[in-house]
């Protein structure tokens, strides 16, 4: 069976304390059968949100996900349950094994939920634990296993129905370098015809193993880039909340307003920025989406600097991590 993953214009927005948060905003990518796909990006860039959508655990606000012939975002009820059981195998960041069950018990659970007879489920669990190198420790509880071993159990659990799509959320996050090597080798081996592996990570070394790398946060160049002047008409928006940007803006003339877009469609004014001050430094420094929008209240001129250029040109201005 050949599978093909298509993510098209995927958007997830939610209300967080009255503010609109968009961890994913118009994301598109494809993956071919047999590929190991790495979702790369820092914390908060939407990797886990994307995996949740792919796993059928989160319904996106907009866009579509096609896995083979299945429109994942349209699945509901029993069809969605069946998709979660049979089509997707998930390896969670914190292993998420059931503490009361043995390694084998943890692998058996999804099979029993899927109606596999007890003896068949136990036999299959034994095979999978052998596959991940834990045949000898199948009767140990998670607390008796190392982080790497727990992650192997989690991978074995994800493989029980031989799903064509395996999602691994930061599978190396809690492991030492020896365990990391083993887990990555296992995931690499699992990426074979009939199966797509999607791995999220903030560690770009993992991307060396990938057939395809999806960067969820744009990689801004550290190279010097000349400042760029931007002229804004009254009411014109400089940047929007949730966008990513690499420039810090210094106000030369005019008047800017910093505001947050609220979930109910309203806006909350945070500050007004007058000439001589700057705005929009937090996103570029931390590589995070803009946490507020900025617009001109009157005809204004601003100059955009990269972080490095801003520090060079305005050494007397201390960047505070309090404004957007």
């Amino acid at each position: 069976m050949s599978n093909h993953l298509v993510v098209d214009d995927l958007t997830v927005a939610f209300d967080s304390g009255g503010y609109v948060i968009k961890p994913l905003d118009g994301l598109s990518f494809t993956a071919e059968d047999g590929e190991l796909v790495v979702l790369l990006g820092p914390s908060g860039c939407g990797k886990t949100t994307l995996l949740s959508c792919l796993a059928g655990l989160l319904t996106p606000t907009g866009g579509r996900i096609r896995f083979g012939a299945v429109a994942v975002e349209e699945l509901r009820g029993p069809a969605l349950t069946e998709y979660r059981r049979r089509t997707v195998g998930v390896v969670f960041q914190a292993f998420n094994l059931i503490a009361s069950l043995t390694a084998r018990g943890n692998v058996v659970v999804p099979m029993r939920l899927g109606g596999v007879p007890r003896h068949a489920a136990k036999a299959r669990a034994g095979e999978l634990l052998e596959l991940v190198g834990l045949g000898e420790r199948s009767h140990h509880r998670p607390a008796q296993l190392s982080g790497g071993q727990q992650q192997r159990v989690a991978i074995a659990r994800a493989l029980v129905h031989d799903p064509p799509l395996i999602l691994a959320d930061e599978p190396t996050a809690h492991l030492d370098h020896i365990q990391v090597e083993g887990i990555l080798r296992l995931l690499r081996d699992l990426a074979s015809p009939g199966r797509i592996i999607v791995v999220s990570t903030h560690d770009d070394r993992v991307s060396q193993l990938a057939d395809r790398v999806i960067e969820l946060a744009p990689h801004f160049s550290d190279a010097d880039r000349p400042p760029e002047e931007v002229a804004l008409a009254a009411g014109e928006t400089l940047f929007r909340q949730g966008e990513r940007g690499e420039l810090i803006y210094h106000v030369e003339s005019g008047l800017l307003e910093v505001y947050r877009e609220l979930a109910d469609g309203g806006r909350e004014v945070l500050a007004r920025v007058v000439p001589g001050n700057y705005v929009g430094e937090l996103g570029p420094i931390l590589n995070l989406p803009r946490s507020a929008s900025v617009r001109a209240l009157e005809a204004s001129v601003v100059v955009g600097y990269t972080v490095r250029a801003f520090r060079q040109d305005h050494p007397h201005q201390v960047i505070e991590l309090a404004a957007p």
């Binding site: 995996l51 796993a55 998930v90 969670f92 998420n96 059931i98 009361s100 999804p110 659990r157």
Partner: protein, 350 residues
Amino acid sequence: MLAVTFADLWFRARQFLIAVIGVGLVLALALALSGLVDGFHAEAAESIDAVGATSWVMASAAEGRVTAFAAFPQADLSAVAREPGVRRATAILFAPAQVVLVSGTATPQTVNLVGVQRGGLGDPQVASGHGLSGGAEAVVDSKLAAPPGSILHLGGHGYPVVGTVDDRTMTGGVPLVYMPLAAVQRAVTGGKPLITAVATTGTPTSVPAGLVVLPPSAVVSDTVGQLRTAVASIDNTRWLMWLVAAAIVASMLYVAALERKRDFAVLKALGSSSRTLFLSLVLEAVVVTLLAAVLAEFLASALTPLFAQPIDITPDTRLVLPLVAVTVGIVASITALRRVTGADPATAFG
């Protein structure tokens, strides 16, 4: 999910054991209270049935209570005895709540005094000593702790105890003291020939004005009826016991559900439904309450001697207990329902 359920029970064995003991103790107390209520009925039935009458003729003012002191002339006995269908008729004078002092003791005790005719219905069959011979003597229930040979002081007179009977109490464990009718009339009515009941075999078709004919079962239920306030209080307490049991299980389950929040999210992500997870919790609760019910059966037997009143835990009550336990378990599970249904499978990633 059965494997997950029992693995979790085993994993939290200590937590569940504490709940089993707590709930077991509460259920045992509830069982004992049920036995107490049944005991009121059982003691009255045993004492009234022991008379051997098929009908009771009593003053209508007594409302069917053998323990009510509603007296009528002993002369009415003849009228009843003459009734066609009556094979045997015996006068009884029941004087409730009389205070006696047993020789060699310092504490007065309350007894129910029963005046009977020698050889008639109600004349007790003794378990030790000998029966009433007609003089000023007494046969007492063994609970009074007055062995044959001791003296019973009542109203300034001493009555030698000549025999004892077992399980003859009424009105919540108050022992019966049988004496010749004339002796009781002397002690209670000043010697006036008054009685409170005529016990018969065979049923009279008519009785003198002011008297009624009742079957023994009606006399038993009417007699127990005088305790209805006490029974209602005990019943309310028993309900509270069920509630306490449910509260213990509910709090244990709630804590377990909080601890398993991540597990629920993971199991949902693996394809489990909220319904399956909830049923798993219900099963845990029912297992705990059923184990507690088994423990309660043993504990209740151990607790029985601690009660002064007769405790009669009937087989029916013992059979009902597991059903109550299952109900308690199901009701208690509801507290954790929201934790299960509210578990978001997407949080398994977080």
